[in-house]
């Protein structure tokens, strides 16, 4: 496999803004996307993901670094000279043109003749299931149809790299799920390389072959979704992709046993190979790997736990359609989530896990993931606040 897209050492500052929006470290940001891959840039607002996409598309010139596509340096090229096409946030369809003319616009700019254009527009509309809608105006499309039209318009020129800027952000949940599936299908049929920007970790993990998790202008980790969950590199990644409860604290190691002791609880596990004991560390407890059992009386386990288990009481029960989430507040004040599979749980059925009941949460040492603590990911609420501020 060869890299279709190769970005090296990208850095960017914006006038009037302190610091680097992208690439605060001197070596800058480098990413590679393989041919035919769906590569997601995932991170909160202001992490540099959109800047990266816009540098690739040619809308923003990087202060440093190069962009290579198909082995050719395109850094100095304007958007209309690059072999990339973009699905814009909010689609940016031309409201004064029909869908046909929107989709055919790129070919017209390239001087493709009328009859050839007509054929290719029809094919592109068919590809996204809009055969019947060519004559319509943009205003007459639903959100999902507009999304498809934008896709057809961007794909008709068969770009080497298709850039998608939060393309599903404006759709409701159900439609978003459906469009995620269609995107994957489209990518497989066309063999085009997709670079997809999103702040939605579920979306990134659902459709991407690989995900680059970004924070504060840096790429923190690039991996497949499975690998991200199995082995997040840092506390930030674990928290952002929602891999489990993150316990921060000081670490210590004795032989094979590694321990993170936070203010509220201790977690013991198998010593990881990647982390040396001296740095700030965190333990990640995945909800699928935790067990919960009723305890005879409150405080049966030590307050902060003994490293393999912790005492607390059930805070609330949430049924999310595929699992029961048991939210436990430990005596030390940590919120832990335990996922129980459907059916066959006696404790759940006989009412020992109702809110307020004392419970013990336990785990196997080998299931604990230890990560470097590199800062806190914003919560959904903070994220929303940032977006509101930026919109103003």
């Amino acid at each position: 496999m060869t890299a279709t897209l190769n970005c090296r050492g990208l850095r960017k500052t914006y006038p009037g803004q302190a610091g680097y929006a992208l690439g605060p470290d001197p070596e800058g940001v480098s990413i590679e996307a393989e041919r035919g891959e769906l590569f997601a840039l995932l991170g909160p607002s202001g992490c540099g993901k959109t800047t990266t996409l816009r540098i690739i598309g040619g809308f923003v010139n990087a202060d440093a670094g190069t962009v290579e596509i198909e082995g050719k340096d395109v850094s100095g090229l304007r958007p209309y000279q690059r072999p990339t096409n973009t699905v814009f946030q909010g689609y940016a369809l031309f409201p004064h043109m029909s869908i046909e003319n929107n989709v055919g616009f790129g070919l017209k700019m390239d001087g493709v003749g009328k009859s050839e254009r007509k054929k290719r527009v029809a094919k592109a509309l068919e590809l996204v299931g809009l055969e019947e809608f060519g004559k319509r105006k943009v205003a007459e499309l639903s959100g999902g149809q507009a999304q498809r039209a934008a896709l057809a318009r961007a794909m008709i020129k068969e770009p080497s790299v298709l850039l998608l800027d939060e393309p599903l952000g404006a759709l409701d949940l159900k439609l978003r799920r459906q469009m995620q599936e269609e995107l994957v299908n489209l990518k497989q049929r066309s063999g085009t390389t997709f670079v997809h920007v999103t702040h939605d970790q579920e979306e990134a993990c659902a459709i991407a072959d690989r995900v680059a998790v970004m924070n504060a202008g840096r790429v923190v980790q690039v991996d497949s979704p499975v690998e991200l969950f199995r082995a997040p590199k840092t506390a930030y990644v674990a928290e952002f992709i929602n891999a489990g409860t993150v316990i921060r604290g000081s670490s210590s190691q004795s032989g094979d046993v590694f321990e993170v002791a936070g203010n509220q609880m201790r977690v013991r596990g198998r010593a990881p190979s990647r982390i040396s004991g001296s740095r700030a560390c965190a333990a990640v407890l995945s909800p699928a790997h935790l067990r919960v059992a009723p305890s005879a009386h409150a405080g049966s386990a030590p307050n902060g736990g003994d490293g393999d288990q912790v005492a607390g009481q059930v805070d609330r029960l949430v049924f999310n359609g595929s699992t029961h989430e048991v939210h436990v507040q430990t005596d030390g004040g940590v919120d832990l989530r335990v996922d129980l599979p459907l059916g066959g749980n006696e404790d759940l059925e006989n009412g020992s896990l109702t809110p307020g009941r004392p419970v013990t949460v336990s785990w196997r040492p080998e299931d604990v993931i230890f990560v470097v603590d590199d800062g806190v990911a914003p919560t959904a609420e903070e994220e929303e606040e940032i977006e509101i501020r930026e919109a103003v």
Binding site: P15, F59, S75, Y80, Q81, F94, F105, G106, V138
Partner: protein, 584 residues
């Protein structure tokens, strides 16, 4: 895939830092953000507006002796204004008081109608009210003054009716040529502007705010004072300012309607440039007027405070009926259209005398209009002036708007302020500025000085109209076009311009209408050329003939048709655009 081969000659190494930050936007190297685009418009305003104002300042310190300007520095002109017992300062105060009252009356009397249309009328029907309310504005200013001149006076329609009906044995002074008559005429003249500014600010009023206020126990009166008026405050103040500036610079209406009570400050200013040729003194008077207005603007700005949030445009309206508002609105329409209807009626009356009784139907007076060669000449001159004015204003205004809509920061704000500055001054000051400027460089007046004046007047309007349209435009559409292979200029021509077209068309229409109707400046800056408003003024000043009624009726009918057609064409478009916005 060989698409990478496109335009290899522009491949450059890693861009050097800083070079591409021009324009401040994210898309760098945008040729349409070049400041050169605003330059022609700016130059025009500087030459046609700022320089003449400077000359005005200089002239105000020079004395006039025997009709000749002497180049000696002196404060004589000012000390003459400020000397005790003089008539100038009292007249200024009197003018400001009366005009302030008139502007206030216009805004207050118009507010219920604006509220009714913006909040109580179903959105699909609003267009009828809007057109009905605004159409009179686009019929000639002078004709509208004339329509009221016809109503007032001892032998005017109103007093004739009163005496004939036996309500009073003698004509009532209130309906003579006096201050109340001027006030009524001013309200009538400026009503559409006050209506539009109030309407625009009220249109976005979220009626749920009113429901919330009621829910929290606010009585109707409290709703008005604590929700509606504060929400519309900026619109009300804007309306007051527009009315005030127009009224204070109007030297025609007072002298035509006010009789002996119709001498206002602007009349004093203009008189200095007529027979008495006191140019230096006139310049000083003009400057005093200008400074007084600026002080008033600053004071109003301070009281206006922060502008309330605009709110969202909604299609929601209050369905609850309000007989008072309906009756008020209908009466207002009667007030608007009665003088116009009477003009048309008298134009068709087979009688040498203008007024009642109606003796029969004739088209003779219309025939007389077309038989008058000097009228045809005036019309031709006006069309010529208007066409050239529209061309210059719209082209220069659009170029400037394209750049200003893309720019940010200080230079942009300064450019915008410069271009729109002529709108903040009454045309009478602009007019004397231009003739003094021409006098200073020793240039002859002619058709071109009229065009110059009209361009100064219409350029700000054209620029702002196009800019508003371009600013609401989603720039990512241009980026999408470039992403699909369009060069920046092509992206602008194919994507931006077509969508800005309604703004450009509106700018052209409004500039045309303003130019065709302009009297205040034209009267001052013309040489020997006679435009249509000048011709009309010359005719209506002394005698009211049935032929004049026919001319007025013709102008009203033609502008009415043009506006109605234009409004419905534009409304069809904006309806389509609104649904675009709604889908986002």
């Amino acid at each position: 895939m060989d698409t990478v081969e496109r335009s290899p000659e522009t491949v450059s190494p890693v861009p050097d830092k800083g070079r591409r930050f021009g324009g401040g936007g994210n898309v760098e190297r945008d040729p349409l953000a070049s400041k050169l685009l605003s330059l022609p418009a700016l130059l025009l305003v500087v030459i046609g507006f700022l320089l003449p104002l400077l000359v005005l300042v200089v002239y105000s310190f020079w004395p006039t002796v025997n009709g000749q300007i002497l180049h000696e520095w002196t404060f004589d002109n000012y000390s003459k204004i400020f000397e005790s017992g003089g008539t100038y300062l009292p007249t200024l105060l009197d003018t400001f008081k009366f005009v302030g009252l008139s502007a206030l009356a216009t805004v207050v009397l118009t507010f219920p109608l604006a509220y009714f249309v913006a909040v109580k009328v179903r959105p699909s029907r609003r267009i009828f009210w809007l057109v009905a309310a605004v159409v009179p504005f686009w019929t000639s200013y002078l004709i509208r003054v004339f329509a009221w001149k016809n109503m007032f006076g001892d032998t005017g329609v109103i007093n004739t009716a009163i005496t004939k009906l036996g309500l009073s044995s003698t004509p009532l002074e209130f309906f003579g040529f006096s201050r109340p008559a001027i006030l009524i005429t001013f309200v009538y003249l400026l009503f559409p502007l006050a209506f539009l500014t109030s309407y625009i600010s009220l249109e976005r009023l979220d009626i749920r705010l009113l429901e919330a206020a009621s829910d929290l126990g606010a009585k109707p009166w409290r709703r008005l004072t604590s929700i509606i008026v504060p929400f519309a405050k900026s619109g009300l103040i804007a309306g007051f300012i527009v009315c005030f500036i127009t009224m204070v610079g109007d030297y025609v209406t007072p002298s035509m309607i006010g009789g002996t009570e119709g001498i206002f400050f602007s009349n004093l200013v203009v008189n200095q440039f007529g027979g008495s040729l006191q140019w230096g003194f006139g310049a000083a008077l003009g400057l005093i007027l200008l400074i007084s207005i600026l002080l008033l603007l600053v004071a109003l700005r301070a009281t206006a405070g922060a502008v309330a949030s605009a709110g969202e445009y909604t299609r929601v309206y209050v369905k609850e009926r309000s007989p008072f508002l309906v009756a008020y609105s209908i009466l207002y329409m009667v007030f608007l259209y009665t003088p116009i209807a009477l003009l048309i009626l008298f134009a068709l009356n087979d009688s040498q005398v203008v007024g009642f009784p109606i003796k029969g139907f004739t088209l003779e007076w219309f025939q007389a209009v077309f038989d008058d060669p000097s009228l045809i000449d005036a019309l031709y001159t006006s069309l010529q002036v208007a066409a050239i004015t529209v061309l210059i204003s719209v082209v220069l205004g659009t170029l400037a708007a394209v750049q200003l809509a893309r720019a940010k920061g200080r230079i942009r704000n300064l450019s915008l302020l410069t271009i729109s500055a002529p709108m903040l001054l009454p045309p009478v000051v602009l007019g004397i500025g231009i003739i003094i400027g021409l006098n200073a460089v020793g240039a002859e007046r002619g058709l071109w000085s009229i065009i110059m004046a009209h361009v100064i007047l219409t350029l700000p309007v054209a620029t702002l109209l196009v800019m508003v349209r371009l600013e609401g435009f989603d720039r990512s559409q241009e980026q999408a076009a470039m992403d699909l292979g369009a060069k920046p200029v092509m992206a602008f021509l194919r994507i931006t311009l077509p969508q800005a077209l309604p703004g450009i068309v509106a700018a052209a229409m409004i500039s045309f209408a303003l130019s065709m109707d302009e009297f205040i400046m034209t009267f001052l800056v013309t040489g020997s050329d006679v435009t249509l408003p000048l011709y009309i003024f010359g005719s209506i000043r002394f005698e009211i003939s049935p032929a004049l009624m026919a001319l007025a009726a013709l102008i009203i009918i033609v502008s009415f048709l043009l506006i109605v057609i234009g409004a419905f064409v534009a409304f069809g478009r904006s309806k389509a655009l609104r649904t675009d916005g709604g889908s986002k």
